[in-house]
């Protein structure tokens, strides 16, 4: 069975559509982050991991009435309590959370919540999980996860600079950044919280998108070596078309795995797999529609300034 052999799509001819599409999503991502920032002071909904606070997952013996639970916490003088029913109704679970607290006693909120519940429910209530994070730790974690990601992007850029040319590294990193922006924007848009596992998913999509981009770049480098006379736009088009069947296949298969995770993975993994579902679609798109056209745009720009016409493509090959 073979798909996509001998396709001759003029990808670069569609670059304005791509640009419009990317802008539409990036900008709507930025806007929804902006709105979220204006409302809550952080650009995306953050999980307790980052913003600090207490989150208690409680299992009741029968399906709890959210309003009744809220009455219980209100009576105990707890304000800003967030109560959501968790996972499938048959498990009788609720997720009860309180916002940021002081570093002095991270455990007090959990005790307050449970005391409030015990006063109104005589039947045994089980805590299946508790997270209590002081604001300092959250900030440290946020900073550290951000820095680690930044350093790893720089590391990849340097490697690509060494193997290809600086512009390839820049284009790949821009594409990855584009993917991350849109994915994070999707979290702001849908109001899902970014937790530590979501960060792992974003790192995954960075790796994935990078992989995809390099495959196309490698082909461009190879083709540039074979046919020196052809214009860069044609070479890029041909390279994308030649790798298209691989791109579609790999993305399709990875998408399949991630979709399985999204469907069967349950509530714990939902944010994680949501990031991957969005990320893989965008990551595949960006290799073709963002990274490759950037190479051509860069060369056009150089030519306008009267510099060397051909992209100094391949430093070496083996």
């Amino acid at each position: 069975m073979e798909l996509f052999t001998g396709v001759t799509i003029d990808w670069l001819g569609k670059k304005w559509y791509f640009l419009a599409f990317s802008l539409l999503f990036s900008v709507s991502g930025i806007i929804s982050m902006g709105i979220h920032f204006a409302r809550t002071g952080s650009p995306v909904p953050l999980g307790v991991d980052f913003k600090g606070g207490t989150e208690v997952q409680v299992t009741f013996t029968e399906t709890p009435d959210v309003n009744q639970v809220r009455n219980a916490t209100n009576a105990a003088g707890l304000h800003d309590v967030k109560i959501v029913s968790y996972d499938v109704p048959s498990k009788h679970e609720l997720l009860i959370s309180l916002p940021e607290q002081s570093d002095v006693n991270v455990d007090s909120s959990r005790k307050q919540i449970l005391d409030a519940l015990h006063q109104h429910y005589n039947n045994p209530i089980l805590e299946s999980s508790v997270q209590a994070v002081g604001p300092t730790v959250g900030r440290q974690l946020e900073k550290q996860a951000g820095l680690a990601t930044l350093y790893s992007l720089v590391g990849m850029l340097v490697y690509l600079w060494f193997r290809f040319e600086l512009i390839y590294g820049v284009a790949a990193v821009v594409a990855v950044f584009h993917d991350t922006l849109i994915t994070v924007g999707a979290f702001a848009l849908t109001g899902q919280e970014i937790s530590l596992t979501v960060i792992a998913a974003i790192l995954t999509l960075v790796g994935y998108s990078m992989n995809d981009t390099i495959v196309v770049f490698d082909r461009i480098r190879e083709n540039l070596r074979i046919s020196r006379r052809e214009g860069l736009a044609d070479v890029v088009n041909r390279s994308i078309n030649q790798t298209l069947s691989r791109t579609v296949l790999t993305s399709g298969l990875t998408f399949l795995t991630v979709l399985a995770l999204y469907i069967f993975g349950g509530k714990v993994l939902s944010g994680f797999s949501f990031a991957l579902v969005v990320g893989i679609l965008i990551g595949t798109y960006s290799s073709i529609a963002v990274a490759a056209p950037m190479l051509v745009a860069y060369q056009d720009w150089r030519m306008k300034r009267g510099k060397a016409a051909t992209l100094p493509a391949a430093k070496r090959s083996r």
Binding site: T5, D103, L141, Q144, T149, G155, L160, N211
Partner: protein, 541 residues
């Protein structure tokens, strides 16, 4: 031309065996249960998957600095007295910078003698400055000594906590420095769900100390009354402590005591404590035992202070005030209302040595074992479903060559898990994300190679040559994609903690394994297939 592949096949089988050992060790049997047990011994699951408690503790190193400089204050007073040097007082002027000590009102005639005495005794640990205007000396702990003290405090706290956790019987705990903030300790306790009791014991400073009573041995009714009787100011070497209502007053009311700041014995001077039965008045007590050095000091003090009062302070509360009737050497008793749990905890904390500083939990998570099991089950089901779907599709799309890809993928997972077993790494939920990316890139490597072989065949090349060229071209791409991602995984591993690190570990090992399976193993399978083919036949791809 046929290639001799025996060496390569032996290498692959050897690798398979080595990494299977990495996963299973030498299992006790081949039944499902025995294998499962073997795996769980080798592959460590993170708390998010197996359930347990996770704590980040902040060590208040200021406590340890305070204790150290309190001790120095005592030594300075001793040194001044030994040399008959006159001064008004030795004090620590600012509670926020406990590393600074001031000696005030030094007799100008003694100034140079004081200076040389201080330099002699304390010059290695403190920077000494003198002020001739107000005849004072200031000792500030040297930054290197301070840093060393902080580091030692942290190490000692970790040691003490580990000792306590071990005695509580928690298996496979993780207790280590936490890299993100200053003076933080990460504690992971697998399988622990009821954190309250354990946390109390872990963070119990239970600073059992004996102080000299400076003011009224019966205490004062309130801090205000104490202040009034002192003329409005507390002397700098003394401080006020509230009494434990059930220990010190007959009617259960609050009492405040004025004590000397520097303890007679305390902290690590104690060796053990045990409960003693209710006495005539129905009160439960604690019997304590001092170390040899502590006992000697206690003896020296008590023998020269018969008739004075001493206060026994536990956790910032005066438990008891007693008159010194005779010299005491190395054991004594504390009366008071103690519960069984309190005494057990006290005994355990004294036996493991006191913490050098108090400890504040700044992050706390517990994952119920059932929730952990749920996420494992769901994660594994999803991963298996995804992998099977991918494998099935590869067979469908690449027919014969699909078997190559599936074998390579399988071997990849074996090597990855084997690495995890050998390196004692921990598999976490984000780690599973790394596995997913690995599977994705593993499949991608195969797709790259196969598509390239197909291209070469379309260009009219023979089977052997097409395979050769396909691998040669795809190899360049595969190296680039893998090295890029390995670089990023290595950086994430170095700079990341917790989940970021967990992701980096599996990704790093997975990609190394992938370079081997997708390129080398898959090639050997192709070659062995080509060896068995008639000349001119087409390969199934």
């Amino acid at each position: 031309m046929k290639k001799n592949l025996n060496g390569k096949i032996a290498l692959i089988l050897g690798t398979l065996l080595v990494f299977l050992y990495g996963i299973f060790g030498i299992p006790k049997g081949v039944s499902g249960a025995a294998l499962e047990q073997a795996i769980t011994q080798r592959i460590h699951l993170g708390l998010d998957l197996r359930g347990g408690a996770h704590l980040i503790l902040q060590v208040v190193v200021k406590d340890a600095i305070n204790a150290e400089t309190d001790n120095t204050v005592a030594r300075i007073e001793q040194a001044m007295a030994d040399n008959h040097l006159t001064y008004t007082q030795v004090l620590k002027p600012d509670p926020n910078t406990p590393q600074t000590i001031r000696i005030e009102g030094v007799d100008p005639l003694h100034s140079s003698a004081v200076s040389s005495e201080l330099t002699d005794r304390f010059g290695t640990e403190y920077d000494i400055a003198s002020n001739s205007n107000d005849h004072s000396f200031t000792l500030t702990m040297k930054p290197s000594v301070l840093a060393d003290l902080e580091s030692r405090t942290l190490d000692q706290s970790i040691e003490t906590i580990r000792d306590r956790v071990d005695r509580l019987g928690v298996s496979e705990p993780v207790i280590q420095r936490y890299g993100l903030g200053a003076n933080e300790i990460l504690v992971e306790l697998p399988g622990v769900e009821d954190l309250d009791r354990i946390k109390d014991i872990i963070q119990s400073t239970s600073r059992l100390e004996v102080h000299e009573v400076a003011g009224n041995p019966d205490g004062y009714a309130s801090e205000q009354e104490a202040m009034t009787s002192l003329g409005g100011a507390i002397p700098p070497d003394e401080y006020l402590v509230h009494g434990d209502p059930q220990g010190v007053s007959s009617d259960g009311s609050d009492r405040v005591f004025l004590l000397k700041r520097v303890s007679i014995v305390g902290g690590r001077d104690f060796r053990d404590a045990s409960a003693i039965g209710p006495n005539d008045s129905g009160r439960q007590g604690v019997n304590f035992v001092l170390t040899n050095a502590g006992g000697q000091r206690f003896y020296d003090y008590t023998s020269s202070h018969v008739g004075s009062y001493m206060a026994i302070v536990l956790g910032d509360r005066v438990k008891n005030v007693a008159v010194i009737k005779s010299a005491i050497r190395d054991n004594g008793q504390i009366e008071g209302q103690f519960s069984k749990e309190q005494i057990d905890a006290l005994s355990l904390t004294l036996r493991t040595g006191a913490l050098p500083a108090s400890i504040i939990p700044i992050e706390q998570r517990t994952v119920g074992a059932s929730l952990g099991a749920d996420s494992i089950r769901q994660g594994v089901i999803a991963a298996i479903a995804g992998t099977l779907a991918v494998m099935f599709f590869m067979l469908l799309y690449y027919r014969g060559a699909g078997i190559n890809a599936d074998l390579a993928l399988f071997l990849n997972l074996v090597i990855l898990l084997g690495f995890m077993g050998f390196s004692q790494s921990t598999l976490t939920l984000p780690g599973i994300a790394g596995v997913i990316l690995t599977i994705g890139m593993g499949v991608d490597s195969n797709v790259l190679i196969f598509e390239r072989i197909r291209e070469e065949m379309r260009a009219g090349k023979g089977a052997a040559q097409a395979v050769d060229q396909g691998f040669a071209h795809a190899w360049v791409t595969i190296v680039d994609t893998h090295v890029t991602t390995i670089v990023s995984a290595a950086i994430l591993f170095m700079f990341g903690t917790g989940p970021v690190k967990g992701f980096a570990v599996t990704l790093f090992f997975g990609l190394l394994a992938n370079l081997f399976t997708a390129v080398f193993v898959s090639r050997v399978i192709f070659d062995s297939h080509l060896n068995n083919m008639k000349a001119g036949a087409r390969i199934s791809i």
